[in-house]
Symmetry: C2
DNA sequence: ATGAAAGCGCTAACAA
DNA sequence: TTGTTAGCGCTTTCAT
């Protein structure tokens, strides 16, 4: 069995409170400090964080719920958050809910039982009823990448609308007027924002909206492939396409490949998120990128402010700008 | 504050032991069962897993330590493991050690304090001294993808040697004799195994080994790019290359792109791991793939057997076969 | 089947 | 500064 503070109290002849005080950075007489440190060394003592958590009612665990770990954007955000959290003494309890609303609810329940101090999530649901219960029971919630309609909580977003608008504008400036878009799952916040950005660009250039230029790729690789095919078949005049996330970009490229479409001669292409993938494609793809590290940093910040500084201020939303990486996938028509 | 079993004892007029018994699937008189369930419902009671863990000395948490979450192979393995673990009531505590030995040691220490029931890891170190301490203190360790030299623990591997050998054989059968290889970090188990497989194939075909045909890509994208460049510059006669992991394959393709090399006419190519990436490339790449779901399943199995069935048998190693997905990246020279 | 009571390892009053 | 004590919420004997 592992040593407890009792053991080291016995060994040093000191009281429990002294040991506890030492462990928590309190003042301990120099010679006792040495005594304690020796005992800790000898007995291989390590604080039992479980017991501590029971007593303090704080587990120093942050629950993270995401739709798919198997998505480079999310996994990178998680990796960054875990890094920062651990540097602050917090552990990361991960739940992948596979883009499933029921699983999301289960994950929330699961983490609640585990008494996590807070939950950071890229939510799958639109409303966020379960998250609301969580927050009402005193557990801070921070959402990342998506805003919940039914819950007023801290939220770190990327300005997808502006990012998308300016990307589509690049296509327009290159002379394109028949621009397709491959969107994600309908209900998701980012889908709507990106579609609005697309409309913004079209409207401003006085290009008529055309529903046949919009295909839903469901945020999946297969969906992206299907969507690209659909767009190409439906729209002979389409000269450019904008793809709204990484998975669908991969799928779209697989299909481009399959159909033997040549980029950018036959089709101009703007993708999303993954710099390495974009660079590995022939020709290199132009993409919209998100500031992953900043997203993670801000999200953890929001959480720690509430947890450590006991911040009670109203929820606030942080919006970060996207960036653009140019490749050779846009053909100038003019 | 959240309700405790005390609250529901008070409300039902029953004793603590009865409630506890109910919660743990013991026998409770029908009418008391109903009473308890009502109280649980009304008070929104949820077991405090922290208190339970303190008492039972089991946290139902599995620590996972991996080199890089931002690596699709690892993130997919983690996602699968988390899924299975949660279905068994276990939580996943994730630590990304960024391929850093010091961070790996810190992660082990961190998880030890957190009293995780077991640790599953893709280890970064070769020896595994810290893992050994962990195991000696009674916490089961399962390694995935890599074998630790200094520790006898359960281990789930992929037969990289055979997989690599047969991939290289395909190149040889297609008439290639000048075959380059981009390997990973020198000390890593899988690097050695894959290199041995490469040698096996060459030796069997009586092709002389040539050190200039081996380039180290450090398992990174940039490393893969550099390695490809190095190979091409050093070996004018090289007609094929085998790349030993996903990141390096991406890097190599970026460089292929950069140098304007045409696959497979100028260079035949076999990559690793990621089916979607391979399909998105022009032409589609041939790759060696690993059975990710099985790896995860077996690893969790090993862990749960020790935890739940109290299995004390000696450590065993499970080896799974690789698979091959053909693309159009191999040129037949004969 | 149920209740009373002890105790898991720690922290936090409170007293000394 | 240090020791004593109570108690966090649960499980688990041991009686009943």
């Amino acid at each position: 069995m592992a040593a407890t503070i009792k053991d080291i109290a016995k060994r040093t002849g000191l009281g429990l409170a002294t040991i506890s005080s030492y462990l928590n950075g309190g003042n301990v007489r120099e010679k006792n400090r040495i005594l304690i440190e020796e005992a800790i060394e000898e007995l291989h003592f390590e604080v039992n964080e479980i017991a501590r958590g029971l007593k303090t009612n704080r587990t120093k665990i942050i629950g993270i719920i995401i739709p798919e770990l198997n998505n480079p954007f999310f996994s990178e955000v998680v990796a960054e958050m875990e890094d920062i959290l651990r540097n602050h003494g917090y552990a990361t309890m991960l739940c992948d809910c596979r883009t499933d609303e029921k699983r999301e609810a289960e994950a929330i329940e699961f983490l609640k039982k585990r008494r996590v101090d807070g939950v950071i999530s890229v939510p799958v649901t639109r409303e966020g009823t379960y998250f609301q219960e969580l927050q009402e029971s005193g557990i801070p919630v921070v959402t990342v990448d998506r805003k919940l309609e039914g819950l007023d909580c801290d939220c770190v977003l990327v300005d997808n609308r502006v990012g998308t608008k300016s990307a589509v504008e690049r296509l327009i400036q290159a002379g394109h007027r028949n621009i397709g878009i491959i969107t994600g799952k309908n209900d998701v916040y980012t889908t709507k924002e990106r579609l609005l950005g697309y409309y913004d660009a079209l409207d401003e250039a006085e290009i008529e909206r055309d529903d046949s230029m919009i295909a839903n790729g469901q945020f999946t690789i297969q969906g992206g492939a299907n969507a690209l095919k659909e767009l190409v078949e439906k729209n002979e005049k389409m000269t450019a396409v904008y793809v709204c996330n990484y998975e669908m970009m991969v799928g779209a490229m697989i299909e481009v490949n399959e159909l033997g479409i040549r980029i950018p001669i036959q089709l101009s292409f703007i993708g999303f998120d993954n710099i390495e993938f974009a660079k590995a494609c022939v020709p290199r793809l132009s993409i919209v990128t998100q500031p992953i590290k900043d997203i993670a940093k801000e999200a953890v910040n929001c959480m720690l402010e509430r947890l450590e500084d006991g911040k009670q201020t109203p929820a606030h939303t942080i919006s970060l700008p996207t960036d653009f990486m140019g490749g050779e996938s846009i053909q100038a028509l003019n």
